[in-house]
Protein backbone atom coordinates (compact mmCIF):
# COMPACT_ATOMS: atom_id res chain seq x y z
CA UNK A 1 0.00 0.00 0.00
CA UNK A 2 1.54 3.27 -1.02
CA UNK A 3 1.22 6.44 1.00
CA UNK A 4 -1.05 9.21 -0.29
CA UNK A 5 0.01 12.81 0.02
CA UNK A 6 -2.99 14.81 1.19
CA UNK A 7 -1.35 18.13 2.00
CA UNK A 8 1.89 19.64 0.73
CA UNK A 9 3.60 23.01 0.90
CA UNK A 10 1.00 24.26 3.34
CA UNK A 11 1.92 27.54 4.96
CA UNK A 12 -0.79 28.87 7.24
CA UNK A 13 -0.80 31.20 10.19
CA UNK A 14 -3.75 32.31 12.24
CA UNK A 15 -3.19 35.15 14.67
CA UNK A 16 -4.76 35.49 18.13
CA UNK A 17 -8.05 37.30 17.82
CA UNK A 18 -8.53 36.21 14.24
CA UNK A 19 -11.16 34.05 12.53
CA UNK A 20 -10.26 32.36 9.28
CA UNK A 21 -12.49 30.56 6.80
CA UNK A 22 -11.09 27.62 4.87
CA UNK A 23 -12.83 26.58 1.69
CA UNK A 24 -12.20 23.84 -0.79
CA UNK A 25 -13.71 20.98 -2.74
CA UNK A 26 -14.38 17.54 -1.26
CA UNK A 27 -11.14 15.69 -0.66
CA UNK A 28 -9.05 18.84 -0.90
CA UNK A 29 -7.54 18.20 2.54
CA UNK A 30 -9.57 20.63 4.67
CA UNK A 31 -10.42 18.16 7.41
CA UNK A 32 -6.87 16.78 7.44
CA UNK A 33 -5.50 20.28 7.95
CA UNK A 34 -8.05 20.88 10.69
CA UNK A 35 -6.96 17.70 12.49
CA UNK A 36 -3.32 18.74 12.26
CA UNK A 37 -4.27 22.12 13.75
CA UNK A 38 -6.10 20.22 16.50
CA UNK A 39 -2.84 18.27 17.16
CA UNK A 40 -4.72 15.02 16.50
CA UNK A 41 -2.67 14.27 13.40
CA UNK A 42 1.08 14.65 13.10
CA UNK A 43 2.33 15.89 9.75
CA UNK A 44 4.80 13.53 8.12
CA UNK A 45 7.06 16.46 7.22
CA UNK A 46 7.43 20.13 8.02
CA UNK A 47 6.99 21.99 11.26
CA UNK A 48 4.87 24.56 12.96
CA UNK A 49 3.42 25.57 16.29
CA UNK A 50 -0.09 25.41 17.71
CA UNK A 51 -0.64 27.77 20.63
CA UNK A 52 3.13 27.88 20.98
CA UNK A 53 3.61 24.10 21.04
CA UNK A 54 5.46 22.35 18.20
CA UNK A 55 3.06 20.23 16.14
CA UNK A 56 5.39 17.25 16.19
CA UNK A 57 6.52 17.30 19.83
CA UNK A 58 4.98 15.98 23.00
CA UNK A 59 4.34 19.58 24.17
CA UNK A 60 1.27 19.56 21.93
CA UNK A 61 -0.46 17.30 24.44
CA UNK A 62 -0.32 20.14 26.97
CA UNK A 63 -2.19 22.61 24.74
CA UNK A 64 -4.97 20.21 23.77
CA UNK A 65 -7.34 21.32 26.56
CA UNK A 66 -7.24 24.78 24.97
CA UNK A 67 -8.36 23.45 21.59
CA UNK A 68 -11.90 22.62 20.52
CA UNK A 69 -12.78 20.69 17.41
CA UNK A 70 -16.35 20.28 16.29
CA UNK A 71 -16.41 17.85 13.41
CA UNK A 72 -19.01 16.22 11.19
CA UNK A 73 -19.91 13.49 13.66
CA UNK A 74 -21.04 14.66 17.10
CA UNK A 75 -18.64 13.58 19.82
CA UNK A 76 -21.38 12.67 22.27
CA UNK A 77 -22.11 9.44 24.12
CA UNK A 78 -25.55 8.47 22.79
CA UNK A 79 -26.47 6.50 25.94
CA UNK A 80 -25.91 9.51 28.19
CA UNK A 81 -28.17 12.51 28.50
CA UNK A 82 -27.01 15.84 27.13
CA UNK A 83 -26.42 17.03 30.69
CA UNK A 84 -24.37 13.94 31.53
CA UNK A 85 -22.33 14.38 28.36
CA UNK A 86 -21.44 17.90 29.39
CA UNK A 87 -20.91 16.93 33.00
CA UNK A 88 -18.26 14.46 31.88
CA UNK A 89 -16.33 17.27 30.17
CA UNK A 90 -17.00 19.54 33.15
CA UNK A 91 -15.48 17.09 35.63
CA UNK A 92 -12.36 16.76 33.50
CA UNK A 93 -12.04 20.52 33.12
CA UNK A 94 -12.75 21.24 36.78
CA UNK A 95 -16.06 23.00 36.09
CA UNK A 96 -19.28 22.84 38.04
CA UNK A 97 -22.62 21.20 37.23
CA UNK A 98 -24.19 24.64 37.54
CA UNK A 99 -22.03 25.84 34.65
CA UNK A 100 -23.26 22.87 32.62
CA UNK A 101 -26.86 23.94 33.12
CA UNK A 102 -25.97 27.54 32.24
CA UNK A 103 -24.42 26.68 28.89
CA UNK A 104 -27.20 24.26 28.02
CA UNK A 105 -29.66 27.09 28.64
CA UNK A 106 -27.55 29.42 26.51
CA UNK A 107 -27.82 27.12 23.49
CA UNK A 108 -31.53 26.58 24.07
CA UNK A 109 -31.29 23.02 25.38
CA UNK A 110 -32.42 23.55 28.96
CA UNK A 111 -35.60 21.57 28.37
CA UNK A 112 -33.76 18.76 26.58
CA UNK A 113 -30.96 18.43 29.13
CA UNK A 114 -32.21 15.08 30.43
CA UNK A 115 -32.79 13.61 27.01
CA UNK A 116 -30.33 10.97 25.88
CA UNK A 117 -27.99 11.90 23.04
CA UNK A 118 -29.41 9.10 20.91
CA UNK A 119 -32.91 10.55 21.28
CA UNK A 120 -31.87 13.99 20.08
CA UNK A 121 -31.87 15.24 16.52
CA UNK A 122 -28.56 15.86 14.79
CA UNK A 123 -29.11 19.57 15.16
CA UNK A 124 -29.67 19.25 18.91
CA UNK A 125 -26.57 17.12 19.25
CA UNK A 126 -24.56 19.80 17.49
CA UNK A 127 -26.03 22.45 19.78
CA UNK A 128 -24.96 20.34 22.75
CA UNK A 129 -21.45 20.22 21.33
CA UNK A 130 -21.45 23.99 21.01
CA UNK A 131 -22.60 24.18 24.62
CA UNK A 132 -19.69 22.03 25.70
CA UNK A 133 -17.20 24.18 23.82
CA UNK A 134 -18.81 27.31 25.22
CA UNK A 135 -18.12 25.87 28.65
CA UNK A 136 -14.55 24.92 27.80
CA UNK A 137 -13.79 28.41 26.43
CA UNK A 138 -11.01 27.31 24.06
CA UNK A 139 -8.17 29.49 22.75
CA UNK A 140 -8.36 27.73 19.40
CA UNK A 141 -11.77 26.81 18.00
CA UNK A 142 -11.84 24.55 14.94
CA UNK A 143 -15.16 24.06 13.17
CA UNK A 144 -15.79 21.58 10.37
CA UNK A 145 -18.95 22.44 8.44
CA UNK A 146 -20.50 24.03 11.54
CA UNK A 147 -23.77 25.01 9.93
CA UNK A 148 -24.84 21.55 8.81
CA UNK A 149 -28.35 20.67 10.07
CA UNK A 150 -28.67 23.82 12.14
CA UNK A 151 -31.72 26.06 12.16
CA UNK A 152 -31.47 29.83 11.87
CA UNK A 153 -31.22 30.36 15.63
CA UNK A 154 -28.42 27.83 15.94
CA UNK A 155 -26.56 29.38 13.02
CA UNK A 156 -26.71 32.66 14.90
CA UNK A 157 -25.41 30.84 17.95
CA UNK A 158 -22.37 29.60 16.02
CA UNK A 159 -21.60 33.19 15.08
CA UNK A 160 -21.99 34.24 18.69
CA UNK A 161 -19.63 31.52 19.96
CA UNK A 162 -17.06 32.27 17.27
CA UNK A 163 -17.18 35.97 18.05
CA UNK A 164 -16.74 35.19 21.76
CA UNK A 165 -13.54 33.22 21.13
CA UNK A 166 -12.14 35.99 18.93
CA UNK A 167 -13.08 38.64 21.48
CA UNK A 168 -11.16 36.76 24.18
CA UNK A 169 -8.08 36.80 21.95
CA UNK A 170 -8.51 33.26 20.71
CA UNK A 171 -8.35 32.03 17.12
CA UNK A 172 -11.01 30.36 14.99
CA UNK A 173 -10.70 28.28 11.85
CA UNK A 174 -13.91 27.39 10.04
CA UNK A 175 -13.95 24.78 7.29
CA UNK A 176 -17.02 24.97 5.13
CA UNK A 177 -18.60 24.86 1.71
CA UNK A 178 -21.09 27.49 2.76
CA UNK A 179 -19.33 30.72 1.86
CA UNK A 180 -22.44 32.83 2.38
CA UNK A 181 -22.78 31.88 6.01
CA UNK A 182 -19.08 31.71 6.86
CA UNK A 183 -17.95 34.96 5.23
CA UNK A 184 -19.59 37.26 7.82
CA UNK A 185 -18.04 35.20 10.66
CA UNK A 186 -14.41 35.41 9.58
CA UNK A 187 -11.75 38.05 9.05
CA UNK A 188 -10.25 36.41 5.98
CA UNK A 189 -10.68 33.32 3.86
CA UNK A 190 -8.27 30.75 2.47
CA UNK A 191 -8.72 28.37 -0.40
CA UNK A 192 -7.39 24.83 -0.34
CA UNK A 193 -6.98 22.91 -3.58
CA UNK A 194 -4.84 19.93 -4.48
CA UNK A 195 -3.55 19.73 -0.95
CA UNK A 196 -2.15 23.25 -0.99
CA UNK A 197 -3.50 26.39 0.65
CA UNK A 198 -3.73 29.24 -1.83
Amino acid sequence: MGATTILRDVDVSVAPGEAVGLFGANGAGKTTLLRILATLLTPSAGDGTILGAPVTGSARYDVRPQISLIGHVPALYPELTLRENLQFAARIGGQTDQRVDEVLATVGLADAADRRGAACSYGMQRRAEFARELMRAPRLLLLDEPHTALDAAAVELVGHITAGVVKRGGAVVVVSHDRTRVAPMVDRTLEIAGGTVQ
Binding site: A75, I92, G94
Partner: protein, 222 residues
Amino acid sequence: MSSLSTQMAAVTRRDLERERRTGEVLWITIPFGAIALILVPMAVGADVPLLRQIGPGLYWVVVMLFGVLIAVRRTSMETPAQRDLLALLGIDPAAVFGGRAMASGLMLLVFELIVGAVAVLFYDIDLSGWPWLLLVLPLAAAGLAALGTIAGSIATNATVGPALIPLIVAPLAVPLLLAASEIVEGLRTDTGILRWLLLMVIVDLVLCIAGVVTARPLQETQ
Protein backbone atom coordinates in the same frame (compact mmCIF):
# COMPACT_ATOMS: atom_id res chain seq x y z
CA MET B 1 -7.47 20.70 34.87
CA SER B 2 -8.56 17.98 37.24
CA SER B 3 -6.28 15.51 38.98
CA LEU B 4 -5.46 12.09 37.59
CA SER B 5 -7.74 10.40 40.12
CA THR B 6 -10.65 12.73 39.26
CA GLN B 7 -10.15 12.00 35.56
CA MET B 8 -10.05 8.28 36.23
CA ALA B 9 -13.19 8.46 38.35
CA ALA B 10 -14.97 10.43 35.62
CA VAL B 11 -14.12 7.80 33.00
CA THR B 12 -15.22 4.97 35.32
CA ARG B 13 -18.47 6.72 36.10
CA ARG B 14 -19.11 7.40 32.41
CA ASP B 15 -18.56 3.74 31.47
CA LEU B 16 -20.73 2.42 34.31
CA GLU B 17 -23.48 4.86 33.40
CA ARG B 18 -23.32 3.76 29.77
CA GLU B 19 -23.56 0.13 30.86
CA ARG B 20 -26.49 0.92 33.15
CA ARG B 21 -28.32 2.43 30.19
CA THR B 22 -27.52 -0.27 27.63
CA GLY B 23 -27.44 -3.30 29.94
CA GLU B 24 -25.04 -4.95 27.53
CA VAL B 25 -23.18 -6.92 30.18
CA LEU B 26 -26.20 -7.61 32.36
CA TRP B 27 -28.62 -8.71 29.65
CA ILE B 28 -26.32 -10.13 26.99
CA THR B 29 -22.90 -11.18 28.26
CA ILE B 30 -23.95 -12.66 31.60
CA PRO B 31 -26.81 -14.77 30.17
CA PHE B 32 -24.54 -16.07 27.40
CA GLY B 33 -21.82 -16.91 29.93
CA ALA B 34 -24.37 -18.72 32.07
CA ILE B 35 -25.72 -20.59 29.05
CA ALA B 36 -22.21 -21.68 28.10
CA LEU B 37 -21.83 -23.21 31.57
CA ILE B 38 -25.27 -24.83 31.51
CA LEU B 39 -24.74 -26.45 28.10
CA VAL B 40 -21.84 -28.62 29.26
CA PRO B 41 -23.81 -30.60 31.88
CA MET B 42 -26.46 -31.14 29.24
CA ALA B 43 -23.80 -32.51 26.87
CA VAL B 44 -22.04 -34.81 29.33
CA GLY B 45 -25.15 -35.90 31.24
CA ALA B 46 -25.73 -36.07 34.98
CA ASP B 47 -22.27 -37.38 35.81
CA VAL B 48 -21.87 -35.49 39.09
CA PRO B 49 -18.28 -36.56 39.93
CA LEU B 50 -17.16 -35.55 36.42
CA LEU B 51 -18.99 -32.23 36.57
CA ARG B 52 -17.54 -31.55 40.01
CA GLN B 53 -14.08 -32.21 38.61
CA ILE B 54 -14.32 -30.08 35.49
CA GLY B 55 -16.56 -27.34 36.94
CA PRO B 56 -13.93 -24.95 38.33
CA GLY B 57 -11.81 -25.14 35.19
CA LEU B 58 -14.79 -24.52 32.92
CA TYR B 59 -15.90 -21.64 35.10
CA TRP B 60 -12.55 -19.91 34.72
CA VAL B 61 -12.46 -20.52 30.97
CA VAL B 62 -15.88 -18.89 30.64
CA VAL B 63 -14.81 -16.01 32.86
CA MET B 64 -11.69 -15.49 30.78
CA LEU B 65 -13.39 -15.60 27.39
CA PHE B 66 -16.47 -13.58 28.23
CA GLY B 67 -14.65 -11.35 30.69
CA VAL B 68 -12.04 -10.18 28.26
CA LEU B 69 -14.79 -9.55 25.73
CA ILE B 70 -16.47 -7.19 28.19
CA ALA B 71 -13.33 -5.10 28.52
CA VAL B 72 -12.46 -5.24 24.81
CA ARG B 73 -15.96 -4.18 23.85
CA ARG B 74 -16.00 -1.24 26.26
CA THR B 75 -12.82 0.15 24.75
CA SER B 76 -13.39 -0.60 21.09
CA MET B 77 -16.98 0.71 21.01
CA GLU B 78 -15.74 4.32 21.12
CA THR B 79 -16.13 6.26 17.90
CA PRO B 80 -13.25 8.26 16.38
CA ALA B 81 -15.08 11.46 17.36
CA GLN B 82 -15.33 10.29 20.98
CA ARG B 83 -11.63 9.40 20.98
CA ASP B 84 -10.79 12.84 19.60
CA LEU B 85 -12.86 14.38 22.36
CA LEU B 86 -10.99 12.45 25.06
CA ALA B 87 -7.69 13.67 23.62
CA LEU B 88 -8.80 17.29 23.39
CA LEU B 89 -10.32 17.32 26.85
CA GLY B 90 -6.75 16.73 27.94
CA ILE B 91 -7.44 13.56 29.87
CA ASP B 92 -4.23 11.73 30.66
CA PRO B 93 -4.32 8.52 28.59
CA ALA B 94 -3.22 6.64 31.72
CA ALA B 95 -6.37 7.91 33.46
CA VAL B 96 -8.46 6.74 30.50
CA PHE B 97 -6.87 3.31 30.76
CA GLY B 98 -7.30 3.20 34.53
CA GLY B 99 -10.89 4.43 34.41
CA ARG B 100 -11.92 2.01 31.70
CA ALA B 101 -10.18 -0.91 33.38
CA MET B 102 -11.81 -0.02 36.70
CA ALA B 103 -15.29 0.05 35.15
CA SER B 104 -14.66 -3.18 33.24
CA GLY B 105 -13.25 -4.77 36.39
CA LEU B 106 -16.41 -3.95 38.34
CA MET B 107 -18.60 -5.34 35.55
CA LEU B 108 -16.41 -8.44 35.43
CA LEU B 109 -16.79 -8.92 39.15
CA VAL B 110 -20.58 -8.92 38.78
CA PHE B 111 -20.17 -11.36 35.88
CA GLU B 112 -17.96 -13.64 38.01
CA LEU B 113 -20.42 -13.65 40.90
CA ILE B 114 -23.53 -14.40 38.85
CA VAL B 115 -21.88 -16.96 36.59
CA GLY B 116 -20.18 -18.38 39.69
CA ALA B 117 -23.57 -19.02 41.27
CA VAL B 118 -24.60 -20.87 38.10
CA ALA B 119 -21.40 -22.94 38.26
CA VAL B 120 -22.02 -23.90 41.89
CA LEU B 121 -25.57 -24.85 41.07
CA PHE B 122 -24.88 -26.98 38.00
CA TYR B 123 -21.47 -28.44 38.85
CA ASP B 124 -21.82 -28.95 42.57
CA ILE B 125 -18.49 -27.18 43.06
CA ASP B 126 -16.81 -27.67 46.41
CA LEU B 127 -16.60 -24.24 48.06
CA SER B 128 -14.05 -25.14 50.73
CA GLY B 129 -12.06 -22.09 51.79
CA TRP B 130 -14.50 -19.81 50.00
CA PRO B 131 -13.35 -16.63 51.85
CA TRP B 132 -10.19 -16.79 49.72
CA LEU B 133 -12.39 -16.31 46.69
CA LEU B 134 -13.11 -12.80 47.95
CA LEU B 135 -9.51 -12.10 47.03
CA VAL B 136 -9.21 -14.32 43.97
CA LEU B 137 -12.29 -13.04 42.13
CA PRO B 138 -11.27 -9.33 42.25
CA LEU B 139 -7.70 -10.23 41.30
CA ALA B 140 -8.92 -12.17 38.27
CA ALA B 141 -11.35 -9.38 37.36
CA ALA B 142 -8.64 -6.73 37.62
CA GLY B 143 -6.19 -8.67 35.48
CA LEU B 144 -8.71 -9.54 32.77
CA ALA B 145 -10.04 -5.96 32.77
CA ALA B 146 -6.54 -4.54 32.29
CA LEU B 147 -5.78 -7.09 29.59
CA GLY B 148 -9.06 -6.49 27.78
CA THR B 149 -8.63 -2.73 27.94
CA ILE B 150 -5.17 -2.94 26.38
CA ALA B 151 -6.47 -5.35 23.73
CA GLY B 152 -9.43 -3.06 23.02
CA SER B 153 -7.10 -0.10 22.48
CA ILE B 154 -5.06 -2.17 20.07
CA ALA B 155 -8.25 -3.23 18.29
CA THR B 156 -9.09 0.40 17.55
CA ASN B 157 -5.64 0.97 16.11
CA ALA B 158 -6.12 1.56 12.42
CA THR B 159 -2.83 -0.09 11.51
CA VAL B 160 -2.99 -3.28 13.53
CA GLY B 161 -6.72 -3.88 13.80
CA PRO B 162 -8.67 -6.43 15.81
CA ALA B 163 -7.00 -9.46 14.26
CA LEU B 164 -4.33 -9.43 16.94
CA ILE B 165 -6.73 -9.58 19.90
CA PRO B 166 -6.81 -13.37 20.34
CA LEU B 167 -3.03 -13.49 19.95
CA ILE B 168 -2.58 -10.92 22.69
CA VAL B 169 -5.28 -12.11 25.04
CA ALA B 170 -4.76 -15.86 25.00
CA PRO B 171 -1.13 -16.12 26.18
CA LEU B 172 -1.44 -13.27 28.67
CA ALA B 173 -4.63 -14.62 30.22
CA VAL B 174 -3.22 -18.11 30.69
CA PRO B 175 -1.25 -17.31 33.89
CA LEU B 176 -4.39 -15.78 35.43
CA LEU B 177 -6.54 -18.72 34.37
CA LEU B 178 -3.99 -21.23 35.61
CA ALA B 179 -3.49 -19.49 38.95
CA ALA B 180 -7.22 -19.10 39.57
CA SER B 181 -7.89 -22.77 38.77
CA GLU B 182 -4.99 -23.93 40.95
CA ILE B 183 -6.20 -21.81 43.85
CA VAL B 184 -9.68 -23.34 43.71
CA GLU B 185 -8.10 -26.81 43.50
CA GLY B 186 -5.67 -25.95 46.31
CA LEU B 187 -8.54 -24.87 48.54
CA ARG B 188 -10.35 -28.13 47.83
CA THR B 189 -7.34 -30.34 48.52
CA ASP B 190 -5.96 -28.07 51.25
CA THR B 191 -2.61 -27.55 49.50
CA GLY B 192 -0.63 -24.32 49.26
CA ILE B 193 -2.19 -21.48 47.29
CA LEU B 194 0.08 -18.57 48.16
CA ARG B 195 2.41 -18.96 45.19
CA TRP B 196 -0.59 -18.91 42.85
CA LEU B 197 -1.98 -15.84 44.58
CA LEU B 198 1.42 -14.21 44.18
CA LEU B 199 1.39 -15.08 40.48
CA MET B 200 -2.01 -13.40 40.08
CA VAL B 201 -0.81 -10.26 41.86
CA ILE B 202 2.34 -10.11 39.70
CA VAL B 203 0.38 -10.63 36.46
CA ASP B 204 -2.10 -7.92 37.51
CA LEU B 205 0.73 -5.50 38.26
CA VAL B 206 2.50 -6.23 34.99
CA LEU B 207 -0.73 -5.71 33.03
CA CYS B 208 -1.53 -2.46 34.85
CA ILE B 209 1.98 -1.12 34.24
CA ALA B 210 1.78 -2.19 30.59
CA GLY B 211 -1.59 -0.46 30.26
CA VAL B 212 -0.30 2.80 31.72
CA VAL B 213 2.92 2.75 29.68
CA THR B 214 1.20 1.96 26.37
CA ALA B 215 -1.80 4.27 26.91
CA ARG B 216 -0.28 7.32 25.23
CA PRO B 217 1.30 5.55 22.22
CA LEU B 218 -1.94 3.62 21.59
CA GLN B 219 -4.01 6.79 21.82
CA GLU B 220 -1.77 8.63 19.39
CA THR B 221 -1.80 5.87 16.78
CA GLN B 222 -5.58 5.55 16.68
